[in-house]
């Protein structure tokens, strides 16, 4: 039986981060992962991440994955792929299936970072080919370059459902609707808004009552649900679809902890069965740590920090760094993690209806139920102001931990202030130079550059555009409102794509000036 100083289970964002941090302290680390490639789910994430610079904000998930793999290889981390850890026993012994053989190893410390699995809901027809997990859709289109189908209904309006809906459209699929049994949208408003403005309807308080088809999905019926989530007869709506995507949350894959006898809890706020851990991930068994989604569902950014924390703690447990060195490293990591857990979507706020922002502004109820801020609500947010000439309009209306916009502006026009969850506002006396960096840097695609009166009866609006085919200068089409409905005719007057924009094209459209604050998307 081979012995290692640290065995990490899972080569996703959290496991790799843990291995890197421990290896940097001098620990001999081995990582086992059941997949053919390392990186976990990071390589499927093609959207720009939220957060601050420290959290890799405005960097796309797969780029963060590439950085992580480089860092792991530089730190000398050994990753064994196609290796499924099938058991964790007392005294930190593990069994690993590689090929047709079972290997037996012992760790002086163990970090489990096995992540989470997708939840499922059942309805008549749910086993038909064509009913897939949202993660499956991401895997097919973003890793393997194939569309899951042509017309998709998304069940679930959490961040996964919203982000994957957008990605489906980027892959050239049509999203016919986003449905959710909950009465309010679960994910970030900005993610919902960028889906809604393309014309995708949201059906809240709706669930799937039937998937149609004999050998493959050919359609879906959704129905409104009452307050106890029972479908209401007579409210059925039918859609022609060939794919039904399910995004109804994740559950920690915590079986290994249970097997080894760690103290467990059933905690709905963390997504189910999780090991009981201290603030740095150590379980009731000394030297056995949990990091990432397996200890409570959050997101990749926090998983990476939790991984680093567990890596540092394992190194100190093994004697590779002093208590003081550990405390110093943990202090910085804790600060980063803490800032990610702030705001309306903080784990502690899960399930709560928040009616006012930290600034005391009424939250848009239209955003929570329809996916877009209505025209009469938008003016009350601090990012939405009026000025002569081109100026940023920031339709950021919820307190989320994200601030790349304030660093993006070379002229200092945008400020978030000290608290990362504050809503952005335009600073006094600043002069916008129309460079577009703020538009491209907003992970929520919520910033527009608007010239409300170009002098000729028209207004110009610069908006982020991440679809193909890319419209060309001179193209005439429709200006769509925040709700995705046509509001006016629009002409493309500029298309900008710089390397610094990282594949977010900036489309400038001209619209009659009365639509300056209404048109937010372009359809050819």
């Amino acid at each position: 039986m081979k012995r290692y100083e640290l065995i990490v289970v899972g080569a996703g964002p959290s496991g790799l981060s843990a291995a890197i941090e421990a290896a940097k302290c001098g620990v001999e680390v081995i990582v086992f992962d059941e997949n053919e490639k390392p990186g976990g789910q990071l390589f499927k994430q093609i959207h720009k991440f939220f957060g601050s610079k420290e959290h890799h904000a405005k960097v796309r998930g797969f780029k963060i994955g590439e950085e992580l793999l480089r860092e792991a290889s530089d730190a000398g981390v050994e990753v064994v792929l196609n290796a499924t850890v099938t058991g964790l026993y007392q005294n930190k012994e593990i069994t690993v299936r590689i090929g047709d053989a079972i290997h037996h190893y012992k760790g002086d410390t163990i970090i489990i970072a096995t992540g989470a699995a997708e939840n499922m809901v059942t309805f008549p027809g749910w086993t038909l080919p064509g009913v897939i997990g949202a993660g499956a859709a991401q895997t097919l289109m973003n890793i393997h370059g194939i569309q899951p189908g042509k017309r998709v209904l998304m069940l679930g309006s959490g961040n996964v459902g919203l982000v994957v809906s957008f990605q489906l459209m980027q892959a050239g699929c049509e999203v016919v609707a986003v449905a959710d049994a909950a009465p309010r949208i679960g994910g970030y408003g900005v993610h919902a808004a960028k889906v809604a403005r393309t014309g995708v309807p949201f059906y809240l308080s709706h669930t799937i009552t039937k998937a149609h088809g004999t050998d493959h999905v050919t359609g879906v019926t959704i129905s409104e649900v009452d307050s106890s989530f029972k479908p209401i007869a007579g409210t059925e709506k039918y859609f022609d679809v060939d794919v039904i995507c399910i995004a109804v949350g994740l559950s920690p894959m915590s079986q290994l902890f249970k097997m080894s006898g760690c103290n467990m809890e059933d905690n709905p706020k963390k997504g189910g069965q999780v090991p009981i851990i201290d603030s740095y991930g150590e379980t009731s068994q000394k030297g056995v740590f949990a990091a990432g989604d397996v200890s409570g569902i959050e997101e990749a950014s926090s998983a990476m920090i939790e991984g680093r924390m567990a890596g540092v703690c394992a190194a100190q447990y093994l004697g590779y760094c002093t208590e003081e060195e550990k405390e110093n490293k943990l202090k910085d990591l804790e600060k980063d993690l803490d800032s990610l857990r702030q705001g309306m979507f903080a784990p502690s706020n899960r399930g709560k209806l928040i009616e006012k922002t930290d600034e005391g502004i009424d939250v848009s109820m239209s955003l929570l139920t329809k996916g877009f801020v209505s025209d009469d609500e938008i003016e009350r947010f601090p990012g939405v102001t009026h000025k002569v000439g081109v100026h940023p309009v920031m339709e950021c209306t919820q307190n989320i931990p994200c601030n790349p916009c304030q660093d993006a502006c070379p002229k200092g026009c945008i400020s978030i202030g000290e608290n990362i969850t504050n809503l952005p506002f335009v600073t006094d006396g600043s002069q916008c130079i129309n460079c577009g960096m703020c538009v491209a840097s907003c992970s929520g695609q919520a910033i527009f550059l608007v010239d409300e009166d170009c002098g000729d009866g028209y207004a110009s609006i610069t908006l982020p555009y991440e679809f193909l085919p890319l419209p060309k200068i001179g193209d005439v089409g429709s200006g769509l409102g925040r709700n995705g409905e046509r509001v006016c005719e629009a002409t493309v007057v500029n298309v900008k794509n710089l390397k610094a924009f990282d594949h977010t094209n900036l489309l400038t459209i001209k619209v009659p000036k009365e639509y300056a604050m209404k048109a937010r998307f372009f359809r050819a």
């Binding site: 059941e34 997949n35 053919e36 093609i46 796309r60 699995a117 997708e118 086993t127 038909l128 080919p129 064509g130 009913v131 897939i132 997990g133 993660g135 499956a136 895997t139 097919l140 289109m141 973003n142 393997h144 370059g145 194939i146 569309q147 189908g149 042509k150 980027q170 892959a171 050239g172 004999t214 050998d215 493959h216 991440e466 679809f467 193909l468 890319l470 594949h503 094209n505």
Partner: protein, 104 residues
């Protein structure tokens, strides 16, 4: 055609060379190294197996090797997870019925 030719963020997908395989006796083409399930999807195949008791169809569900809904008979061996098994030239792939190849 369900393959993505060009993607606004990812560009052109990087794919292995084109290879032939058979599905229920029919010759098809796919890209070497991609999951069998992806090659089948590109050829319009969505039913991978029929369940033993009720003979109800199953296909891709999780696409990451967890749910085992997409298993098929590959090179004569049943219960192969096609979403995580790379396609090789000359593979024989059969719809699974229960745990045996489906008669065609």
């Amino acid at each position: 055609m369900s393959r993505i030719e060009n993607h606004p963020i990812l560009g052109e997908p990087k794919k292995g060379k084109t290879v032939s395989f058979t599905f229920d006796g029919k010759t098809m083409e796919g890209c070497e190294g991609e999951p069998i399930a992806v090659a089948l999807k590109a050829n319009g195949v969505s039913v991978h197996r029929y369940t033993q008791k009720n003979h109800s169809p199953r296909g891709i569900f999780c696409a990451i090797g967890r749910c085992t809904d997409c298993v098929m008979v590959v090179n004569g061996k049943p219960n192969i997870r096609t979403c995580v098994t790379p396609l090789e030239s000359g593979m024989t792939i059969q719809t699974q019925d229960g745990v045996a190849p489906k008669e065609v």
